[in-house]
C-alpha cells in the first residue's frame, strides 16, 4: 500500500491537481489581501482585488475547459495508477506548495502595480504596502527552489544539484526578477525614486511566473512537436499570457509617463548601488530567459535543432553574479543620495583583507590548480565579512563600549539585520558551490562483498547485500561500514527500490553528513556474480549550498518582521478622527 502522505501529495503530482494547487494558492493570497488589507485605501484595495480576481478567473476557466480534475475515468485501474516512485518522497509534500506560494505570490505585487496604474497614483506608501507581500513570495520561492535542488541532489543519485533545466529556469527567472523588485521597492519606499521601474518590475516578475507556467504546462519544453500535436492547453495558457502581459504592458505604456519622477540621486549612492543590483539581476534574468527560449525559437523559425545547457550558463550567468557579489557589500554601506565610495572602501578594508587572506590560504593549501576557485571563495568570504562589517559599523561594536553596542544592536531595525543575513547567505552559498564543484571526489567501481573503497580519507567496506520488503516496493540494500583512520564511524545503507505497480525503480542514495560536508553513496546495477556497481562521492562543504538560501530566507523573515512593516503604512486621516473622541 502507498503510504497516506503520498496519497495526499499525489494530488499535485499530475497536471490537473497541480493546476488546482496553483489556483488554490492564488485564492489564498487574494483572501489574505482582503482580510489583512484594512489599512489600504478603499479604492486601491478594490482595484487590487479586482485584478487578482481577473487572474483567478482566467485560470479557473483554463482548468474548466482544458484540465478538469474531476473527470471520471471510464475503467479505473484496480490498484490505482500509482504515483511515480521518484515523487514518493517528503520532497513532494514540501517543494511544490513552497514553489507555488512564491510563484503565485508575485501576483499580489502585479495586482498592486496594475491598481496603481489604473489609479494613476503611486507613492512611497504604495511601496510600503507592496513590499511585505513581495517579501513573503520571495521567501517561499527562495526556500522552494533550494528545497527542490536538495531533493534532486539526494533523489537522483548522482549528486547534481542544479541542471539549468528549462523547468528549473522557469522558477529561477521569477526569483531573479523578484529579487530585483525587492531592492527597487526599497528605493521607492525610502526615496520615492525608481517608481516607473518598480511598477515595470512588478509586472515583469509575475509575467515570468506566467511564462514559467506556460513553458512547463504546455509541454513546449519537452518538444516543440509535442506541443504542435496537442496544443489545447498550451494555446490556452498562451492566450492568458498574452492577455495579461500584453494588457498590463499596454496599460504601463499609456500611464507610466503620468507617474512623476521622485527623488534625485548621484550615481554613487545607495540608490545607485540598488540600480546596479537591478541592472545585473535583470541582465542575468534576460540571459536565462534567452537561453531557455532560444532553442525553441530556432527550431520553430529556422528548423535548426540546438541545445543550450549548463556549460553555456556557467560561462554567461556566473560572471554576472560574480560582479553582483563584488558590489553587494558596498550597497548597504553607501549613504542615500550621495555616497562616498572611497570612504566605504576604507571601511570595507578589513573585509577585503579577510577575503584576500582566504584566497592566499586556499591557494597555498591546494598548491596551484585553477586560480578561479580560491578567488571565488575569497569573494564569498568578502561578501560575508562585508555583511558582518555593516552590522559592526551600525552597532558601533568596536568603537563603543560593549553594553552600548548591545543596546544599539537591539535598536537596529530588523530590516538591517535581514539585509546582513540575506547578503551573508549569498556568500555562504557561493563558497558551498565552489567547494562542491572544485573538490568533489568521486569513486566509481564494481564492488563485491568485503571490498573496500577509499574516498577522500574515508574507507568504505561493503559488508553485504540484503533484500527487504517496503510498504509498496521491494528494495535491495547494500551495507557499507564507513571508517576513517581505522576508526569505525557508521554504517551507510544505500538501496535500490523497485515498485511493482509501475514496474519502475528508484535509487535511494545514502548520505553521511560530517560538518557541512557529505559522503554520498548510490548503487548501480548488480551483476550476476553478486557484485554491484557503486558510486561514492565526497562532497566538501556541499551543505553550504542550501544553508545559504536558508540564511537568505531567514533574512527575509527578519525584514518582514521589521517594525515599519508591522506597524504598517500611515492610515488615512479619516480613520484617525473617528477613533479619537474618547480622549
Amino acid at each position: 500500500m502507498k503510504p497516506l502522505l503520498y496519497k495526499i501529495t499525489g494530488v499535485w503530482g499530475n497536471h490537473e491537481g497541480s493546476m488546482l494547487l496553483w489556483v488554490a494558492i492564488l485564492a489564498l493570497f487574494g483572501g489574505l489581501v482582503a482580510a489583512f488589507g484594512n489599512n489600504l485605501p478603499l479604492s486601491l484595495r478594490a482595484h487590487v482585488l479586482a485584478v487578482q480576481a481577473w487572474v483567478a478567473g482566467a485560470f479557473y476557466l483554463f482548468i474548466l475547459v482544458t484540465s478538469n480534475p474531476f473527470l471520471r475515468i471510464a475503467s479505473p485501474p484496480i490498484e490505482g495508477r500509482d504515483l511515480n516512485p521518484v515523487l514518493q518522497d517528503i520532497g513532494l509534500a514540501v517543494h511544490p506548495p513552497m514553489l507555488y506560494l512564491g510563484y503565485v505570490g508575485f501576483s499580489i505585487s502585479f495586482s498592486f502595480a496594475i491598481a496603481a496604474l489604473m489609479e494613476g497614483r503611486i507613492d512611497a506608501a504604495w511601496a510600503r504596502w507592496v513590499r511585505p507581500w513581495t517579501l513573503v513570495a520571495w521567501i517561499f520561492l527562495t526556500l522552494g527552489i533550494a528545497m527542490g535542488s536538495y531533493w534532486a541532489y539526494y533523489e537522483l543519485g548522482w549528486g547534481g544539484w542544479w541542471f539549468w533545466d528549462p523547468v528549473e529556469n522557469a522558477s529561477l527567472m521569477p526569483w531573479l526578477a523578484g529579487t530585483a523588485l525587492l531592492h527597487s521597492a526599497v528605493v521607492m519606499e525610502k526615496r520615492n525614486a525608481l517608481k516607473v521601474w518598480t511598477i515595470l518590475l512588478s509586472i515583469l516578475t509575475f509575467s515570468l511566473s506566467l511564462l514559467g507556467t506556460f513553458l512547463v504546462r504546455s509541454g513546449v519544453i519537452t518538444s516543440v512537436h509535442a506541443f504542435a500535436t496537442d496544443p489545447t492547453r498550451g494555446v490556452f495558457i498562451l492566450l492568458i499570457l498574452c492577455l495579461f502581459i500584453g494588457g498590463s504592458l499596454a496599460l504601463f505604456a499609456g500611464r507610466a509617463t503620468s507617474l512623476k519622477q521622485g527623488g534625485l540621486f548621484a550615481p554613487i549612492s545607495r540608490e545607485g548601488a540598488l540600480v546596479l543590483n537591478n541592472l545585473l539581476l535583470t541582465v542575468a534574468c534576460a540571459v536565462v530567459l534567452f537561453g531557455t527560449l532560444y532553442p525553441l525559437a530556432m527550431e520553430m523559425l529556422a528548423d535548426f535543432k540546438m541545445s543550450v545547457g549548463a556549460p553555456f550558463y556557467n560561462l554567461t550567468f556566473a560572471p554576472l553574479f560574480a560582479l553582483l557579489l563584488l558590489a553587494v557589500p558596498f550597497g548597504p554601506m553607501l549613504a542615500w543620495k550621495r555616497g562616498d565610495l572611497l570612504g566605504v572602501t576604507q571601511r570595507l578594508l578589513a573585509a577585503g583583507v579577510a577575503g584576500l587572506v582566504v584566497v592566499a590560504i586556499v591557494w597555498a593549501w591546494v598548491r596551484g590548480g585553477s586560480a578561479l576557485a580560491p578567488l571565488a571563495i575569497g569573494l564569498g568570504v568578502f561578501v560575508i565579512a562585508g555583511a558582518v562589517t555593516d552590522i559592526v559599523e551600525r552597532t558601533g561594536l568596536v568603537r563603543l563600549p560593549f553594553a552600548s553596542a548591545l543596546h544599539r544592536a537591539r535598536g537596529l531595525p530588523r530590516s538591517a539585520w535581514g539585509t546582513a543575513f540575506a547578503h551573508a547567505g549569498l556568500g555562504v552559498a557561493l563558497i558551498g558551490i565552489v567547494c562542491e564543484t572544485t573538490w568533489n571526489s568521486e569513486h566509481i567501481a564494481t564492488m563485491k562483498q568485503n571490498d573496500v573503497a577509499h574516498v577522500a580519507g574515508y574507507d568504505l567496506k561493503l559488508d553485504g547485500l540484503f533484500q527487504r520488503q517496503g510498504p509498496n516496493y521491494r528494495e535491495m540494500i547494500a551495507e557499507f561500514n564507513v571508517s576513517r583512520d581505522g576508526k569505525s564511524l557508521t554504517v551507510m545503507t544505500p538501496s535500490k527500490r523497485s515498485f511493482t505497480t509501475r514496474g519502475s525503480s528508484t535509487t535511494e542514495a545514502a548520505l553521511l553528513t560530517r560538518g557541512a560536508s557529505q559522503l554520498y553513496v548510490s548503487l548501480g546495477d548488480a551483476t550476476a556474480e553478486g557484485a554491484i556497481a557503486v558510486r561514492i562521492y565526497h562532497k566538501p562543504l556541499v551543505l553550504l549550498i542550501w544553508w545559504g538560501p536558508v540564511l537568505m530566507a531567514f533574512g527575509g523573515v527578519l525584514s518582514l518582521s521589521d517594525r515599519r512593516l508591522r506597524v504598517g503604512a500611515p492610515k488615512p486621516a479619516r480613520a484617525k478622527q473617528r477613533l479619537q473622541p474618547a480622549e
Binding site: 499530475n14 497536471h15 497541480s18 521518484v86 509541454g219 519537452t222 540621486f265 541582465v283 534576460a286 548510490s522
Partner: protein, 160 residues
C-alpha cells in the same frame, strides 16, 4: 504527455530517473585521458534525454556516446576534433554549449550588450538628472519661515 506534466511538480525528477552515468567498465586506464573524456561528456547532450549531458545520463545512447568519445580520444583526437566529429554525425543538437557562430551570436552577445548598454544608459541618465537638480542648494528661507523656525527650535529646547 503525462510524464512531462508531472515533471513540473517534481522539477525535473521525473524526466531524469535515477542515473548511473559512467560505468566502471567504461573508464579509461590513463587518468589524464579519462578526465578529458569526462570534461567532454559534460558538454555533450544525451539526445534522447531531457537536457541531460551524456555524463549524467544512464540511457544506452549516452553510454554509446561516452564510449565513442573515449574511442576518439584513444585514437589521438584533440578535444575540438572530438566535438567536430560528433557535430558532423549528430548535428549541433549534441552540443550543450552552442558554438559561437552567426546564428548564435544573439544568444551569446545578449548578456554583455545588455549589461554595457544598460549600464551606460543608466549612468548617463542618473548623471544628467542629478546634475540638473541635486546640486542646486534649496532656496533660502523667507523671513516668515525664519521666525517660525526660531519659534519651533526654542519651543523644542524647553523641557515639556
Amino acid at each position: 504527455m503525462r510524464r512531462m506534466m508531472a515533471a513540473f511538480v517534481a522539477l525535473l525528477l521525473l524526466a531524469l530517473p535515477a542515473a548511473h552515468a559512467v560505468q566502471p567498465d567504461e573508464i579509461m586506464s590513463d587518468p589524464a585521458k579519462e578526465s578529458r573524456a569526462r570534461e567532454l561528456s559534460r558538454e555533450l547532450r544525451c539526445m534522447v534525454c531531457q537536457n541531460q549531458s551524456i555524463d549524467d545520463s544512464d540511457a544506452p545512447l549516452a553510454r554509446d556516446l561516452r564510449l565513442l568519445v573515449r574511442e576518439r580520444i584513444a585514437a589521438g583526437d584533440s578535444n575540438s576534433q572530438v566535438l567536430d566529429f560528433l557535430v558532423a554525425r549528430y548535428g549541433d543538437f549534441v552540443l550543450l554549449k552552442p558554438r559561437f557562430e552567426r546564428q548564435n551570436l544573439l544568444l551569446w552577445m545578449l548578456g554583455p550588450v545588455l549589461l554595457l548598454g544598460g549600464g551606460l544608459a543608466l549612468w548617463l541618465q542618473i548623471r544628467r538628472r542629478s546634475g540638473s537638480g541635486a546640486d542646486v542648494p534649496p532656496p533660502p528661507l523667507t523671513a516668515d519661515e525664519k521666525t517660525r523656525l526660531a519659534a519651533l527650535m526654542s519651543d523644542d529646547s524647553k523641557p515639556s
